[in-house]
């Protein structure tokens, strides 16, 4: 029956690169040799539509088919039976052929919570655009519209295979949704909002400089706009009675299809939660992560200690091949009176309860636990289903504890231990965010107490001749859930986790000779030297004045310390300016002599041998080494032989004495990056191949300016950036045994 019905037909398929679409395409190509297919595919990342289709035919879904007909057979199919139309359902559509017999509309947004405009654009504008293009083509095809069972919205009880009862004006909703972005954009640009973004950005990145703050606040604004639009979508959907924007727009899409079909026959097919294939193209075929997979995997990894949901609720799962078969049967059976509705779902005749799914999955993982890298196997958690509110409370407590831990670690002095604490906090944060996201997203699905009847689907199935029932059947009653979940689905989704990849090695610095002039830029204090301008100053004073006066000098610096630290937190440049006033009146020659005789020794005690080794390694590789520091010039002097270029703070001099004022603005934060760019341009150096070493978040612009940034003894903020961008992180320390407090030797 199906075979005859589809023979010699020409079918348009949208969403063919998606999960359902490609399964359908595979069937059409493999089982209906006389059916021709038109694919509406958009080009992506510079890849034209045709190339995408070629690539699509190489995916695992087509493996059994390829084995049967050979690669040449596939190529022939592409040549003879597939026409690729380049176009995007949400945008301008190309003219459609005028001889279409069938239209399978499978394109949809895969996300449950897209920003409102995006959701409407795909699920509604895309749908209306398609059906209008069909009408304009002059063809008179049979429309098969894929929807979802959950278009029924937040409801309880039994949902029949019938038109939705809502009277929402989908055109008005669409217009409002598309307009939302402009409104939100506008709102995000109100001065109060912008000030808020800047304030937050400054709090986090203030020390890195104004450009960094500006970039971050713009990022924050964009994030806010997106989050806001997601909120718009979720709220609108929920006020109208749907759990999320996805189901809401799909529901409106059905109405649009009903209206726009004109007098064309239309079938609306509503699958429930589509999961991996039970039989075809092969058991366990799945592509990408669908709905349950992230949860199943996270559960298997022991990462979800508890999850909301009603244990008695029905989790309406359906294998993808059942949906494809239903679509084919529907395609072979045009409705008699214009529009027909089908549920492809398991809840009515072969329900599997949430608790049962949990048990089967847990059982599966207990028998066959996931390996944990270097730690044997993951422990599978035991859920108690304490109910939504308790899970919510647990989550909130966890989030609060994490916020607190985060505040603590970001204020601790930097060390290896703190950095390992940061890693733990970030890992926990990732876990909690994951649970939070999925708990919110799936609440409606795991708490559903609704049954979608599938009488019409069943009738359709029964109408198939025996042979076709064997090949194309979709009677959900024949699914053995234990077999499906434990032998087919879970093995398929966990296969990639069975062979954990070896730990990705930490990024490493590679010092290589290069063609073009290469720079190796080093920050001084905190990076190559565990000392700071205050210590250098004290040391200098100690070397100069009798020991009895030392306490006075320490006290005087200590008195200034709170205000200095405040300045340092706001802006390093401000701090340096304030502190360097102390050099007012000091003799240039005297300081140079003291540094040579005494301070040099202290600085050399505090230099990290690994830093010196690295500097020399760069020199051996022919790189130009540059010292970039906010410290005063004389203090950089002991290291001059290591560097080709030393850029340090210069104080103004009058009559051989320092004035305490800087000659040029201190080289901190973005000024360093700017200096480096200018220098590289002047010298013809290649910044892409160059290296920069720094320890502080304030040096972010400097690090970003080169192709090989290295975080040395990073503070927490820089450490996070380095980890995210996979920059090498190194710990350079002076040798143990170096006294913590040192005093100059006197003769």
């Amino acid at each position: 029956m199906i075979e005859e019905a589809l023979a010699e037909k020409r079918a348009l398929v949208t969403g063919a690169t998606g999960f359902l679409g490609q399964a359908l395409l595979e069937r059409l190509l493999g089982d209906f040799p006389e059916t021709r297919v038109v694919l509406l595919v958009r080009g992506r990342f510079g890849q034209p539509a045709r190339a995408r289709v070629e690539e699509l035919l190489g995916r695992p879904c087509f493996n059994p088919l390829r084995e049967r007909v050979g690669p040449d057979g596939i190529a022939a199919m592409l040549e003879e039976r597939i026409e690729v139309l380049e176009g995007d359902v949400t945008g301008e559509l190309p003219p459609l052929p005028d001889d279409l017999d069938l239209v399978f509309h499978c394109a949809a947004t895969v996300s449950f919570d897209p920003p409102i405009d995006e959701g409407f654009r795909t699920n509604l504008v895309g749908t209306t655009g398609l059906y209008e293009a069909v009408a304009a083509s002059g063809a008179r095809p049979y429309l098969i519209h894929t929807s979802t069972a959950y278009v029924a919205g937040m409801t309880k009880g039994i949902v029949p295979e019938a038109p939705l009862s809502h009277r929402i004006d989908w055109r008005a909703e669409t217009a409002a949704a598309l307009a939302a972005r402009a409104r939100v954009e506008e709102a995000s640009r109100r001065p109060e909002m912008l000030d808020h973004f800047v304030a937050r950005a400054r709090h986090e990145h203030g020390r890195a400089g104004p450009q960094e703050v500006a970039q971050d606040s713009e990022r924050r604004r964009e994030d806010w706009v997106n989050r806001r639009l997601v909120e718009y979508g979720r709220a609108r959907a929920q006020t109208m009675g749907w759990p999320d924007l996805y189901t809401f727009t799909k529901a409106l899409g059905e109405r649009a299809a009903e209206e726009l079909r004109g007098d064309l026959p239309l079938a609306i097919v509503r699958p429930s939660i589509i999961e991996s294939a039970l039989r075809h193209p092969y058991p366990g075929w799945i592509e990408g992560f669908k709905m349950a997979e992230p949860i199943i995997l996270a559960f298997g990894r022991g990462a979800i200690p508890e999850f909301p949901g009603i244990p008695e609720g029905i989790l309406d799962l359906i294998p993808v091949d059942y949906v494809v078969n239903a679509l084919l049967a529907v395609a072979a059976t045009p409705p008699e009176d214009g529009v027909e509705y089908y549920h492809v779902s398991s809840g009515s005749r072969n329900p599997v309860h949430y608790h049962r799914v949990y048990e089967l999955v847990r059982d599966y993982f207990q028998k066959d636990p996931l390996p944990e890298r270097d730690r044997g196997f993951h422990r599978v958690p035991e859920w108690r289903f304490p109910g939504r509110r308790r899970v919510e409370r647990l989550l909130r407590t966890g989030e609060k504890a994490l916020d607190l831990a985060d505040r603590v670690v970001t204020r601790l002095p930097r060390s290896d231990r703190v950095r390992s604490m940061v890693r733990r906090v970030d890992r926990e944060r990732g876990r909690l965010d994951f649970i939070r996201r999925y708990a919110d997203l799936y609440a409606a699905y795991v708490e559903a107490e609704v049954i979608y009847t599938d009488d019409r689907s069943l009738a359709l199935h029964r109408s198939l001749p025996d042979e076709e029932r064997e090949r194309f059947g979709f009677d959900v009653a024949d699914i053995d859930w234990r077999h499906y979940l434990q032998d087919v689905h879970c093995p398929a989704v966990t296969v990639a986790m069975r062979f954990p990849s070896p730990r990705r090695p930490d990024p490493e610095v590679r010092v290589r000779p290069r063609e073009q002039l290469t720079l190796a830029v080093f920050d001084m204090e905190g990076t190559i030297l565990s000392s700071n301008v205050i210590e250098s100053y004290l040391w200098l004073r100690f070397a100069d004045v009798p020991a009895e006066e030392w306490p006075d000098h320490v006290a005087s610096v200590a008195r200034q310390l709170p205000s200095l630290l405040g300045a340092e937190r706001r802006d390093r440049g401000e701090f340096l300016r304030a502190f360097y006033r102390r050099y007012d009146g000091a003799s240039v020659e005297g300081i140079a002599r003291l540094v040579e005789e005494h301070v040099a020794e202290m600085l050399l005690q505090r230099v990290a041998p690994a830093a010196v080794r690295r500097i020399r390694e760069h020199r051996r590789a022919g790189h130009r080494t540059v010292l970039l520091t906010g410290a005063l010039e004389p203090f950089a002097e002991p290291f001059r032989p290591l560097f080709d270029e030393v850029v340090a703070a210069k104080l103004m001099v009058r009559d051989g004495r320092y004035t305490g004022y800087l000659e040029t603005p201190p080289l901190v934060g973005e000024a360093r990056a700017a200096w480096l760019r200018g220098y590289a341009e002047g010298e013809g150096a290649d910044l892409k191949g160059s290296y920069a070493y720094a320890d502080s978040h304030t040096d972010l612009p400097l690090l970003r300016a080169v192709g090989n940034p290295v975080a040395v003894n990073p503070d927490v903020a820089l450490y996070r950036v380095a980890r995210k961008r996979r920059w090498p992180v190194e710990v350079w320390k002076h040798s143990s045994g170096t006294p913590r407090v040192m005093v100059p030797e006197r003769v």
């Binding site: 020794e601 505090r606 020399r616 002991p638």
Partner: protein
């Protein structure tokens, strides 16, 4: 007459014995039958040091009296041993300073104006002003420092003179001022038999180009031992150089020897044999041990750093280098030589807190190695205390610590070179040149207080003879990572160390414990 050296055989009446272990010490019980080598008791010192100095200068060996060598308008240079001698540093006044006072007085009397004093620090770090002052004394320091009293700079090309080559083709290059002087007076303290003689000038005032002819693996493997100049390739080379120098330059050598009064009160119990400790010594030991163990590391280091030895001078000899050195050596032997019958399977030493290269500094792992496998292993004439293939057990914590100002190239040697190989010959071939000529190390050696870049290599070569001779090296209480880096093993207790050594030497080895310091030189028959 003081008591001669003595080899004790541990029996049931033997109390636990003192063992040094870095900035600490312990009483360790040794297995029955262990032989313990004690040096002779401290020799009596010269009663009137000034008179002895004067006598030495006026009645020199193989030379005219000093005053006869001095004349107005001449260039006189006085060179003297650096901070590496003696160990621990000598309580003021340092005998070198006193000798120099006398030399300078003679020079003044003879109207010699052009006088320069040079620290013969070779490739060692420069001495700091206060260290120099301590050696030469307040008066000389104030008169000559900084212009006429300087450290030798072995990398100052302009101030080095290539004297020539020995018959063996060894370059002799020394300090230009010394080379161009009409008279070079060298003042030393001859703490051990390795020091002095022709080793003083060619090495102390030499350069890397000159030193590399004898400071190398081949020479060290043929110096058995370098505490026995007659059997030391190192000394043979130095002698050739010294003789060549003597042809070009008139050298007046003044060598001094000290007795074994190593530890001042309250640590003077360390100078005594344990069974002769008085009740007060025992109480002092207990108190010192408890206080030391409880003190934080930095404080402990400071306490030990301040130790100055109350040495007495046992001899002052002046004149022609070789004639003087013969006298000096016999004085050293009188104080340190102990006859030992036969070799042991296991040699035990306790490494003290100080070695020649960490005065006012930190004993890093390489220096601990050098002190044990270099100095203590070589404290023999005749045959090593331990048989070929035997084991050496050393007490030292070997902390992974370095003094960055004094030993910058050591840090890198430890991190880069030893991480790759511990074989002295391979290290020499592959890395020495690079470290010796590295501009940063040269810069630090010249302007800061750093040992020369090549110095850690010499420390490693110093142990080469022991490394090739021994079957096993075990540090008791050593930092595992640091000890392994050097290719040795670490044990937490002496018993464990013996157990481990058993793999090499069997279960009932003959054990010899070299009880030092105070220093003893074993004459093994």
């Amino acid at each position: 007459m003081t008591r001669p050296g003595f080899v004790l055989e541990v029996d049931e009446r033997t109390p636990p014995l003192l063992v040094h272990e870095g900035e600490g010490f312990r009483l360790q019980r040794f297995p029955m039958g262990t032989r313990v080598v004690y040096p002779p008791d401290s020799l009596p010192g010269v009663r009137d040091v000034d008179a002895a100095i004067e006598r030495a200068l006026l009645e020199p060996h193989g030379s005219e009296p000093l005053p006869d060598l001095l004349r107005p308008g001449m260039r006189l240079t006085i060179a003297f041993d650096d901070i590496s001698l003696p160990l621990p540093p000598m309580r003021s006044p340092d005998v070198r300073g006193r000798v120099m006072e006398h030399v300078l007085e003679h020079a003044a009397r003879k109207g010699v104006d052009d006088v320069r004093l040079i620290v013969a620090n070779s490739l060692h770090r420069r001495m700091t002003p206060s260290e120099i002052k301590k050696v030469v004394g307040e008066r000389i320091y104030r008169s000559f420092h900084p212009d006429a009293l300087t450290n030798h700079d072995a990398e100052d090309r302009a101030n080095l003179t290539h004297i020539g080559r020995t018959p063996e083709g060894e370059d002799v290059e020394i300090n230009r001022r010394a080379a161009e002087s009409d008279l070079l007076v060298y003042v030393n303290i001859n703490l051990v038999a390795m020091d002095g003689g022709h080793k003083s000038v060619p090495v102390g005032l030499g350069s890397y180009a000159s030193l590399r002819h004898h400071h190398n693996v081949h020479t060290m493997l043929n110096s058995t031992s370098y505490m026995d100049p007659g059997h030391s390739a190192l000394h043979h080379s130095c002698e050739r150089m010294g003789r060549l120098l003597a042809e070009h330059l008139s050298v007046f050598t003044v060598e001094t020897t000290l007795n074994n009064d190593t530890f001042p009160s309250p640590f003077d119990f360390m100078n005594k044999r344990e069974w002769e400790w008085s009740a007060r010594d025992q109480a002092t030991y207990l108190a010192a041990k408890k206080a030391n163990d409880a003190a934080p590391g930095r404080m402990r280091r400071e306490v030990f750093r301040r130790i100055e030895s109350p040495y007495r001078v046992t001899g002052i000899n002046a004149g022609e280098t070789e004639a003087v050195h013969k006298e000096t050596l016999s004085a050293v032997h009188r104080q340190q030589l102990v006859e030992v019958d036969g070799q042991a399977d296991v040699m035990v030493v306790g490494l003290p807190y100080i070695s020649p290269y960490n005065v006012n500094s930190i004993m890093n792992p390489i220096l601990a190695q050098c002190l044990g496998l270099g100095y203590f292993f070589n404290m023999y004439v005749g045959r090593p205390l331990v048989r070929q293939g035997g084991a050496m057990i050393l007490f030292h914590p070997v902390p992974w610590e370095f003094h960055q100002v004094h030993h910058p190239s050591y840090v890198d040697f430890f991190e880069e070179v030893l991480a790759e190989t511990t074989d002295p010959a391979e290290i020499e071939a592959k890395f020495e040149e690079q470290y010796a000529t590295d501009p940063w190390y040269v810069h630090l050696y010249r302007t800061s207080y750093a040992y020369h870049g090549v110095h850690p290599f010499y420390m490693w070569y110093w142990g080469a003879h022991a490394m090739s001779h021994l079957g096993d090296v075990i540090f008791v209480g050593g930092d595992r990572k640091a000890v392994h880096r050097m290719g040795f093993r670490s044990a937490s207790t002496f018993a464990d160390a013996l157990e481990m050594a058993g793999e090499t030497v069997g279960t009932s080895p003959r054990i010899t414990y070299l009880h030092a310091p105070p220093l003893a030189l074993a004459e093994v028959r």
